[in-house]
């Protein structure tokens, strides 16, 4: 009988101990949980990616020009090219990327859960996302702004004409928040129609279920350019002139791994720096000049005695050359995906080098 009681006491004690430990204040148990957590990586994402041999990149799959699946079934776009650039820098192979197509709502959870190493999915950098989503935004790869697209024959010429309209918007995006602020500021009553993805939003706009479609202007331009002739072609849709928000789009990584954040940051800087140096995928391999800054940038021997410059980012010294030869510099990436010669036809605008009055300004590589 006493033994039986003892057993009971042991079991109860176990439960009690577990309950008591719930306070998470005792350091001994907390560290145990951290070790098994996996989120707080001890070795870092960089080492993890290198040992895995492939980069898990969270992307969009439905915005032409940024992240989409092309006619051959391959991922393509400006964001996709930055996934490839990171892979080229870290692994030396731009094709060593595993793309994970995510909806706007899934993206942060996927990053928090470690499903992806980096999120490059036309994601706007905002304070609360930086603060509350467990991630850190890095260098902006595309400076965008929110706009409004309407049917050309709707007679709507500006946002002020849009009282009492219905506006289609993607849920869980900054555009949704800006829409509410913009219409509230204008004293314009409106009905939002929120969709999980652009693929579901588009038919609603086509069928006039909503008068306007609001999103980043680049996305609107992408969908406008892809409007089939059956629906009137691109001319049937008009993007209003007003830009009513700042939408800096760039990569995001998990909080707490500075090394990995720096790696991704410097890959983006490298593409911009290359354009500034006049290096592109055609001429980088046979660079024969003697500009020490360029030689240092490309990881070639420079100085006397000749040494290879290693900034200590944890990247191979020739990472810039890999990125540029395999993916290209910023201008190449831009023009290939969204530039004036593509269906989107976006001018560089503020996405221009600082030397030409734009916002792209890479820190010195030294």
């Amino acid at each position: 009988m006493i033994k039986r009681l003892l057993l009971l006491v042991v079991v109860l004690a176990m439960v009690a101990a577990a309950c008591g430990g719930d306070g998470a204040e005792e350091t001994t148990t907390t560290t145990a949980a951290e070790d098994t957590g996996g989120q707080v990586a001890g070795d870092g994402v960089l080492a993890e990616v290198q040992s895995r041999g492939v980069l898990n990149c969270g992307v969009n799959n439905e915005v032409f020009g940024f992240g989409y699946v092309d006619a051959d079934g391959n991922f393509a776009g400006l964001d996709i090219d930055y996934c490839r650039a990171v892979a080229a820098a870290v692994l030396g192979d731009a094709e060593a990327v595993e793309y994970k197509a995510l909806t706007a709502q899934q993206r942060f959870t996927a990053l928090q859960a470690g499903e992806i190493d980096v999120l490059i999915r036309n994601t706007t950098w905002t304070a609360s996302r930086d603060g509350k989503e467990g991630g850190t935004f890095l260098t902006t790869t595309f400076y965008d702004g929110q706009g409004m697209m309407v049917k050309t024959d709707s007679g709507i010429g500006s946002i002020e004409d849009m009282a009492n309209t219905t506006v289609c918007v993607q849920s869980g995006t900054t555009t949704e928040l800006n829409l509410a602020s913009r219409f509230a500021a204008g004293g314009l009553p409106y009905t939002p129609l929120t969709f999980d993805s652009n693929d579901e939003l588009r038919p609603a706009f086509v069928a006039d279920q909503c008068d306007g479609w609001t999103s980043d202007k680049s996305q609107l331009a992408a969908f406008r350019s892809q409007n089939p002739d059956a629906d009137g072609g691109p001319e049937a849709w008009t993007i209003l002139a007003e830009t009513f928000s700042k939408e800096p789009l760039g990569p995001m990584v998990r909080d707490g791994d500075t090394q990995w954040a720096q790696v991704v940051d410097w890959v983006v800087f490298a593409t911009i720096q290359a354009e500034e140096f006049g290096l592109d995928s055609t001429n980088v391999a046979n660079y024969s000049g003697d500009n020490p800054e360029i030689l240092r940038f490309l990881g070639k021997e420079v100085g006397d005695p000749p040494t290879v410059f290693d900034p200590g980012l944890g990247l191979p010294t020739d990472f810039a050359e890999q990125v540029i030869s395999q993916v290209g510099n910023y201008a190449e990436i831009y023009n290939r995906n969204v530039g004036p010669d593509t269906a989107l036809g976006l001018e560089r605008g503020v996405n221009e080098l600082w030397t030409r009055g734009g916002l792209l300004y890479p820190p010195p590589y030294r």
Binding site: A24, Q105, Q112, N164, E176, L193
Partner: protein
């Protein structure tokens, strides 16, 4: 010898006593489950804290920052309000959808047993088609083929000048309260009580004398009398409000709803009705054949046979599986997220997308559906107990 029989009845030591072992096994299993849960919960919290993601529910008081389709929700209202609105919208689907799908499902279930070849085959085709398509596809199909194909609001159809039908908003005429409307509602209440009293009186009289009771006619008649006399006596406490399209953009007056609501309602009603039809058919067939034959022997018409003999017994059998379908309907409303109806799943995911912590919000979402499911079960189980055969 007597001592031996005694020792045989003495209980074995506790480590071989089945009773004790059972209790211990339960305790150990329960304890392990608790420990595992606490471990996982703490692991989550530690990692969230390490990743700088809030673990409390303070975000519920933050402004939602968004507006919602088909409501006057303001962007400055807190997130807790938008969650309540989502729950209300899910409820609006369930409360209208469940009666509709029950009626439709019953009709089709009966049609499946019809002696008319065409009716029978048509019902079979309906059931076999819809039952075998995932509900999400039914929703997207209904939205694209039915709702989006309706005219745009500036060309909205206005049959009889009473309804407005467009792919954006749909509206029906509705009553607008004037002065005295409160008094009138009280009169209606009295009328209702009076009609029940008349019903009971007619039933008692029938029990006592056997004269035809016509209690339905008497009861409704009483209520209608109160309603009509009260309406004019109080000087028309309600007037009809007809919906009208304004500027080709919005509807004023009437009772209006948004296209996605109708799409989801329609899709899930026709989808779930196909399952209900099978339940009804099975339940009817489960009623002993002798009951039908007895009804025929009494020369009841086929309607009387169904209404008074077969269906009451069939529904007893049908109720437990019907609960399942009601629960399925309610849970399937979460698919409305695909076409933009702001039910609870949509608003929760919207909040997650707008930099609010996912674990807490998902917990709230799970709790909401649990609440829905448990209330429906509770309600129907109560009904089930009332309708069960008394077997003692």
């Amino acid at each position: 010898m007597t001592t031996e029989t005694k020792t045989g009845s003495v209980r074995p030591p506790f480590w071989r006593d089945v009773k004790v072992l059972r209790v211990v096994a339960q305790l150990v299993a329960g304890g392990l489950a608790v420990v595992l849960f606490l471990y996982l919960a703490r692991n989550l919290r530690t990692n969230l804290t390490a990743a700088n993601i809030p673990t409390d529910f303070a975000f519920l008081d933050q402004p939602a920052g968004v507006t919602v389709t088909g409501s006057d929700f303001k962007a400055t209202q807190p997130i807790s309000d938008i969650i309540l609105l989502g729950i209300k919208n899910t409820f609006a689907l369930a409360i209208v959808g469940i009666p509709l799908l029950t009626i439709l499902g019953t009709l089709i279930g009966i049609a499946r047993l019809s002696s008319n070849y065409l009716v029978r085959k048509a019902a079979t085709a309906y059931v076999e088609t819809l039952r075998n398509i995932p509900p999400l596809l039914v929703i997207i199909f209904t939205n694209t083929a039915v709702i989006l194909s309706l005219p745009a609001i500036r060309d909205a159809a206005t049959p009889f000048d009473l309804f407005v039908i467009s792919n954006r908003f749909l509206a029906i005429p509705w009553a607008t309260a004037q002065d005295n409307s409160g008094t009138y509602l009280a009169v209606l209440g009295i009328g209702f009580v009076a009609s029940i009293a008349v019903w009971i009186w007619r039933t008692r009289r029938f029990d006592a004398t056997g004269a035809p009771h016509h209690r339905f006619l008497w009861g409704t008649g009483t209520f209608v009398l109160f309603a009509v006399v009260g309406f004019f006596a109080l000087g028309r406490p309600f007037t009809l409000s007809r919906p009208e399209v304004v500027d080709g953009r919005i509807i004023e007056g009437g009772y209006q709803t948004v296209g996605p609501y109708v799409a989801v309602l329609l899709a899930l009603v026709i989808y779930t009705a196909s399952h209900v039809a099978e339940i009804v058919r099975g339940s009817i067939q489960a009623v002993a054949k002798g009951q039908t034959e007895a009804a025929n022997a009494l020369a009841l018409s086929s309607f009387q046979r169904l209404r008074f003999v077969v269906l009451p017994q069939a529904f007893r059998i049908a109720i437990p599986p019907l609960i399942n379908q009601y629960l399925n309907f309610t849970k399937n409303t979460s698919l409305a997220i695909a076409i933009g109806y702001a039910e609870i799943t949509l608003v929760v995911f919207q909040a997650i997308g707008n930099a609010n912590p996912a674990p807490q919000l998902i917990l709230i979402l799970m709790g909401s559906y649990l609440l829905f499911s448990l209330s429906i079960s509770l309600l129907i189980n109560f009904l089930n107990r009332r309708l069960q055969l008394v077997t003692n």
